[in-house]
């Protein structure tokens, strides 16, 4: 009989964190919903939910990090985490696919049809007379009023450069980790999350510019809808990724991770490459083409 050996898959004791998470989700969802329905108290219920969820995430990850550092995870547990992260990222890809799908459907189907293409001559004549399909558009109803589009070669190009650079720095950091060069690791990891936060900051600047100077808002027809929902969800993911990179940075400073065991680092690096790839899709299809 083996005791505490690598043969045993670590099955944790009962954990209260999932239940705390469910409670947080209850407060969050009920809060947001009643707030949207116009009940002012909903806002505070929502904040309570957010606080509970942050508490849950912190506690849950702290427990997992503690278990990992005390050597409870064998290679099989490590493989479970890896595969779990892979499928989680796949689910995120499909979430973005829904919004890209909406963008492509609008551009290639619904807008040309509103302009009378295919067999929609009478739709155009009777409902939206004189509307010519173009892209970008805020639709035949001119929803949101006159606007200007976001030019692709200003801030968005800088942001593209920032994100692509950060993907390189995180890879350099990874190689440094494998080679045991901790200083190089810390420097390039710091560079990565700083580039990430600068990206988010510039995205904020771009939004303010769009709202104040271009009259390009969430309500600017289908162009505004797809522009803000795609870049908005992407920006949210960059923010989450940058926060995760920051936590990994502090774990590096605390001496966590070895040259051959550093799943958390890799998981965050994968996530970072994922938001990078989504951005390339965004830059090409939302800003540029």
């Amino acid at each position: 009989m083996t005791t505490h050996s690598d043969e045993h898959y670590y099955v944790p004791h009962g954990s209260h964190w999932p239940a705390v998470g469910s409670l947080g989700l209850l407060f969050l969802m009920v809060g947001v919903s009643s707030w949207l329905n116009g009940a002012g108290a909903g806002f505070y219920i929502m904040l309570t939910g957010v606080a509970i969820i942050i508490f849950m995430i912190t506690g849950w990850f702290a427990a997992v990090i503690g278990e990992s550092e005390s050597g409870l995870y064998n290679t099989q547990v490590d493989a479970s985490f890896r595969q779990g992260m892979f499928w989680f990222i796949f689910s995120e890809v499909m979430f973005f696919a829904a919004f890209f799908g909406a963008l492509f459907y609008a551009r290639n189907m619904s807008i040309p049809w509103l302009g009378g293409e295919s067999n929609n001559f009478f739709t155009n004549l009777l409902l939206w007379e004189g509307y010519e399909s173009t892209w970008p558009t805020n639709g035949p109803g001119n929803i949101g009023g006159e606007y200007e589009t976001m030019p692709p070669f200003g801030l968005p190009l800088i942001n593209t450069a920032l994100l692509l650079t950060s993907s390189i720095t995180v890879t350099i950091a990874h190689h440094a980790l494998i080679a045991g060069k901790r200083t190089q690791l810390s420097i390039f990891l710091a560079a990565t999350f700083l580039l990430g936060f600068v990206f988010v900051y510039l995205q904020g600047v771009e939004y303010i510019h769009a709202y104040q100077d271009l009259n390009l808002t969430l309500s600017t027809g289908i162009y505004g809808s797809t522009f803000y929902m795609l870049t908005g969800f992407h920006g949210m993911h960059v923010t989450i990724g940058a926060i995760m990179l920051t936590i990994i940075f502090f774990r590096v400073l605390k001496g966590h991770f070895t040259t051959d065991k550093h799943f958390a680092f890799e998981a965050v690096a994968w996530y970072w490459h994922f938001v990078d790839v989504v951005w390339i899709g965004l830059y090409v299809f939302v800003y540029w083409m």
């Binding site: 043969e7 944790p12 209260h16 949207l36 595969q83 689910s91 979430f95 909406a102 619904s110 639709g139």
Partner: protein, 536 residues
Amino acid sequence: MTATTVDTNAADHDDHDHGPTKGIGRWLFSTNHKDIGTMYLIFSLLMFFIGGSMAMVIRSELAVPGLQFVHPEFFNSMTTMHALIMVFGAVMPAFVGLANWMIPLMIGAPDMALPRMNNWSFWILPIAFGILLSTLLMPGGAPAGGWTMYPPLVLQTGDAFPFLIFSVHLMGLSSIMGAINVIVTIINMRAPDMTLLKMPMFVWTWLITAYLLIAVMPVLAGAVTMLLTDQFFGTSFFLAAGGGDPVMFQHIFWFFGHPEVYIMILPAFGVVSEIIPTFARKKLFGHDSMVYAASCIAFLSFIVWAHHMFTVGMPLTGQLFFMFATMLIAVPTGVKIFNWIATMWRGSMTFETPMLFSLAFVFLFTIGGFSGLMLAIQPADVQYHDTYFVVAHFHYVLVPGSVFAIMAGAYYWLPKWTGHMYNEKIGKLHFWTSTIFVNLTFFPMHFLGLAGMPRRIPDYSTQFTDFNTIASVGAIGFGLSQLIFVWVLLTAKKGETATDRVWEGSHGLEWTVPSPAPWHTFTTPPKARIANESFE
């Protein structure tokens, strides 16, 4: 259905707790796949009765023409809520419960791969359905625009609207986490010599189902998020004046929705593929072809979604493509049906309750499959669309399909869970009443639909009266029949003690552990010899 505290494997492990803790903490904080499986199953049974009582309201109202019991608006809420609860609350969690209980036992794993996340997957569900059910009491009533949530109709929902959206988000979150857990468990936790093609069919079908879940639940989340922003934040996804299109919602929704119907039937195929060989006392005919057929069905499920939308206006090429792609699904499904029949061919069959439910499944699911082929024919669908023929079709594949398979699985594995044989006489009574009444309910709906009776309307023309009355009698009978199942469960531990193998013809790793299955099983992977014996 409660797991036991007996722990015969206690000597084999030392790095986790030896038995369940006492009190509510055992369930609330559980990381044990058997306890979590039990909770899933009990939850889904509860939802089955809540959703079922809504069906009783619908059928009572439709028993005779005219309006008798409820307002039309409430009737619409009932059809909407019945569907949401049955799909997301009853059928899906029941299969996840079976997966939780049986997959680790079938592949020789100590637990699910990510036990804490497993707990969270479950405990999100009571929150999600608590929120959804609370909409019944809200100003404007519960959602009444149909479970498909088509805009612009769904945007007329009252205060319930954001609660509907967020409860759907929560159901998706739960499903995605559950599916990730299933995939990782199957890929990473199998006994060392269990190669992929040696896996039992239930494990295989769940692997494919979990892949479908991860691929499409986020798309549903995207679709309902767009509804939310259209309603509250001024976006124009589904507003033609802004360049959007209400039909776009239908495309995104059904890109989720069609794989979703296979999510509800593939695990049923798996359950039946376990049961028929046991009671025919033969190996499953064409195991590998079953795997390929299920994979084909999963692939095809991604390219057929617009057959739900043949009447909304689509280019002709689109209609032709979706029609032919849909018909193609009959090929792999036919492979499965014929394989089950071939498994029974010249077998020495006995007809215990699980086998009866499985046989009824094969026969009645096929009826649902054939009406599906009729609906796939685009020119004919223009006539059938939104009639009771569609209702008959999807209830045939879901009730004597998915639900019967769940019942079959419950009877089949109940002795492994409780350590006692259920009462076979009562089980058979449950089967026969269910089978007679389910046909009485749904078969006449074919005729109603072909004669032109529309769905989702609380009143109808008097020529439809006879078949509607018959269907209502059948529905009440079917609903009452399910109380027999509760009786079976309540007396489940009173029967004779079950052996480890339980059934004479059973095969597979789950039958090598004691009945009832100890709280911890396979803390070390099963030995090659044992494992090999059980695969053959």
